[in-house]
Symmetry: C2
Subunit: 344 residues, 2 copies
């Protein structure tokens, strides 16, 4: 399979590293992967017979301007030139997330699908804004749209609901979908510290981002819940349909009280049918000891699906970081290679 990697930040670089690491695995699978393009906002590299990735990775660690790369680097390599050359099978779309317009990823994904090119994206923007439309576009053009990375990375939330629950109707979704907030709540419960102290520790450890707003105010969880709900329950909801409350107001007293009751606070994203209509919430919930998400601690994530005929399924685990995220992109690539039709 011939790939273009568009967007070359941490996950993109980890993806190229991973392909090098997994060379023998892929060979055994019968999967011959060539990367014909790697592009970022400053330019790109092109080789019609496959880029020498080991050499490029070394270069890119020292120099972010791919257009300076001696073997094929050029400012002239644009997305349109990729579309024009027609020498790729899969677009790996990894540009930064824009939750308002989805751009530039939205246009890249549309253009590729229209040209009959499979797309795998790590970009939440286009998926949360227009999954149904993009998926139909893929189906219409006989190609696949892989989005596993956008909702939990290594934790296979999408495959878990789509493939592992095939033939069953998903009645509700509940998940601990953000590792940072789960770490903070766990830290507060274990050490009895304040929210601010726990957040500071998460930042010191590199678990929380420099601006943790999207995590702690619940929007990262909401975005993932939105993606899962739209895909697995065939909805077209938006962020505005979700009641979102973060964890910034949680006090040590609340945590302590929950502990005395044998419970734990978790930031839960939840979609369920009540009184005939769908309710979507993200908020701190006090979970009982018997709840399947009760024991998900530290940075771990988990999601639980309740279905009609396959009972319930909880998936937990999934490592954090750029390599596991890249591995979730590779997972989609392999499953598409193995014939799975995400877009029907």
């Amino acid at each position: 399979m011939r790939l273009a990697v568009v967007g070359f930040g941490g996950v993109g670089q980890a993806f190229v590293d991973l392909l090098l690491l997994k060379r023998s695995y892929l060979y055994n699978e019968g999967l011959d992967i060539k990367i014909n393009y790697i592009m970022n906002s400053r330019g790109g590299v092109y080789s019609p017979t496959g880029i020498d990735c080991a050499s490029l990775v070394e270069f890119s660690k020292a120099n972010g301007d791919l257009s300076q790369y001696k073997n094929g680097g050029s400012k002239q390599i644009t997305f349109e030139s990729i579309m024009k050359n027609k020498d790729i099978d899969v677009l790996v779309e990894m540009t930064p997330t824009n939750k308002e317009t989805g751009e530039p990823g939205m246009t890249y994904i549309e253009r590729a699908l229209e040209k009959g090119i499979h797309v795998i994206t790590s970009n939440k923007g286009p998926v949360m804004l227009a999954y149904k439309r993009l998926n139909k576009l893929a189906a219409k053009n006989g190609v696949q749209l892989g989005i596993g990375c956008t909702s939990g990375g290594a934790l296979p939330t999408v495959n878990g609901g789509l493939i592992d629950m095939a033939g069953a109707e998903i009645l509700s979704i509940e998940g601990i979908l953000n590792g940072t907030t789960n770490f903070i709540l766990d830290e507060m419960a274990q050490k009895g510290v304040t929210y601010d102290d726990a957040l500071k520790k998460a930042m010191d450890l590199g678990i929380a981002e420099a601006d943790p707003t999207l995590d702690v105010e619940g929007w990262d969880t909401a975005t993932k819940l939105l993606i899962l709900t739209n895909i697995l329950m065939n909805e077209e909801k938006t962020l505005a349909d979700i009641l979102v409350e973060g964890i910034t107001g949680i006090t040590p007293e609340q945590i302590e009280k929950a502990k005395r009751e044998g419970k734990k606070y978790k930031l839960v994203g939840r979609t369920e049918n009540r009184d005939g209509s769908l309710h979507m919430t993200v908020r701190p919930e006090k979970l009982d000891r018997g709840h399947p998400l009760y024991s998900i601690d530290g940075r771990h994530k988990a999601v639980r699906y309740v279905s009609d005929t396959l009972g319930d399924l909880t998936l937990s685990g999934g490592a954090s970081g750029v390599t596991p995220a890249a591995a979730s992109v590779l997972r989609d690539l392999i499953n598409i290679y193995r014939g799975y039709r995400y877009s029907i």
Copy 2:
């Protein structure tokens, strides 16, 4: 897709019921399923245009001898006649398990694969004895072998390892793979009763079978562990490679002591690499509170995979009984319809 259902016990009947129940789901999926044959040991029913399942299910509830069924029932319908007519796409093989020879399922599966017919089986015998060979036979003939039902039923242990971990190497498997023994151990811990009393309760509730030997002595767990190890780690192990110890010797004193230590006994099936060779065990293990399988109680099952690049994944849940088992067969059917190649 045109099916033959061979073997028509509890799961087979539940499968046919499920297809009736799921008619609109399948229609929306674009999947038109016709059952051309239903066969058990006394004969069968054939309709070249699809059996009227509602009517047949009603008949079969009153009369186990399908050959007496007025619309197409006959003693002359044999497996060979199905092979000869060449009017099915999928064999749903549900004959009783024989762990020594795999027959009659083994021959049925081989014959169908050789004829270019997909096979989905709920029969552990052929899968534990010859998965690799059968899978190669499927690949050679361009068809798929679905075996999800044989290792955990509704709990998607096979898909979880094969699809959700695609691209990663599975380094170890550990699972609570038998609901009956998990119920018994949980009952002993919760109520402080003896093994015999807990077993009696499990039998009274219909959780344990009349002859619970295979469950309580660990062989059901061992069989599932064997299937998962061979498929997910590309091995050709046999039951003789597994060190198996059941739960019959566990005393209330041991359970009580574990409880005081904050631990729980669970019957764990485990495959792991130690000192460069693969070790497979089934035995009661004392799990710490932090272990991902610690909180799997009652009749629940779970499996945990540790991988190189996708971190670890624990799948838990999965309902018990004939309908969830039938739903796991339907799951394989849908995933094969969606193009997934289990056999490459």
